[in-house]
Amino acid sequence: MTATRRLTAILAADVAGYSRLIGADEGGTLDSLRAIRAELIDPMIATHHGRLVKTTGDGLLVEFGSVVDALRCGSELQRDKGKRNATVPPDRRIEYRIGIHQGDIVVEDGDIFGDGVNIAARLEGLAEPGDICVSGRVQEDAAGKLDLTFEDIGEQQLKNITRPVRVYRIAIKHRLAPQWGLRHCHFQTSRLWGGVYNCTRAFLPMLPKADAGHIVNTSSVNGFWASVGPRIPHTAYSAAKFAVKGFTEALITDLRINAPHIKCSVIMPLPHWNFDSCQFAQDPERQSVGRNGGDADCSGTGAHRLDGPRCFKFIGR
């Protein structure tokens, strides 16, 4: 049993919220972890010339001969995992936190020990799920060699480590937000905002001919609060819903000046509301109720004509 020392790059990773995941679905979580190891983690470590030192229930420790290899492995792992998670409900996502440090370690019987290992583990604890935290040494060695942005979060006093360690955060997860895709933004904008705008424009020439009219636009709580939670990006949807609310607010004055017999309203429900299930058709006061279910570009607007015997037309989402 011989202990040797060497300088190495250490990657420590663990599953965020492991106990919660196991508590919710033990068998399913363990099956998922086995699949992630086999399909993603082990091949990634091999590709980047790493050595898996050991695993725990929810974590793993890997050493690399190069800081650049360790960072490539960590960032690609987080990117691929993020892509896989995009189709998984948030409460079932398996997300890793990763810490990377370069240091002098003791190797004994294949296992590794020492401050270098402990610092990597503490850095991992500072990382957000899906992201990476690295020490100043790693940042100095890797800066300019990889397409990664290092955010300096200052010197941190890590538990059981004597001296403070300068820590850098690499935000991998934030680059993966599906709502940032241009295609998705265009879809949401044309459907949620374009539908309201185009429907209102289409009905406006008819409404002034009626004795009275009311334009009802469907926005959302996300029309005044752009959030469905602090860890879920919601940009495209919220931007479109803010536009609907702003448009309707602007119409108030426009209609008062140009067509005072027409009113407008903006509806703001929680984002999970499904207006297809609203029972407008059962209201005896409404003679005719229609829902344009086939044309996504008409979503979000109900243009209600109130001429003669009240005619109420609703165009659903």
């Binding site: 939670g229 407008c264 703001m268 209201d283």
Partner: protein
């Protein structure tokens, strides 16, 4: 996945479709331009207006979620 989403929607929606329709129709009849549907939506509106600078803080959301009984994603 569709069945799961239906279940979560049914269990998670604090206001029925009929209640939502009533709120909207009463709002339109009263010529209100601003129709907020559901007690949790009303509460979000109040809180965001009370503390707009804090509206996107993690603790703002967690406090709201606890108050209205949401599961935190």
């Amino acid at each position: 996945m569709v069945a799961e989403r239906e279940r979560r929607f049914s269990e998670g929606a604090p206001t029925t479709a009929a209640q939502a329709a009533t709120t909207i129709l009463e709002g339109v009849k009263a010529d209100r331009w601003r129709i907020i549907v559901g007690p949790d939506a009303v509460r979000i509106d109040e809180l965001v207006r009370q503390a707009p600078d804090r509206a996107y803080d993690v603790d703002f959301f967690e406090s709201l979620a606890r108050e209205v009984g949401w599961r935190i994603p």
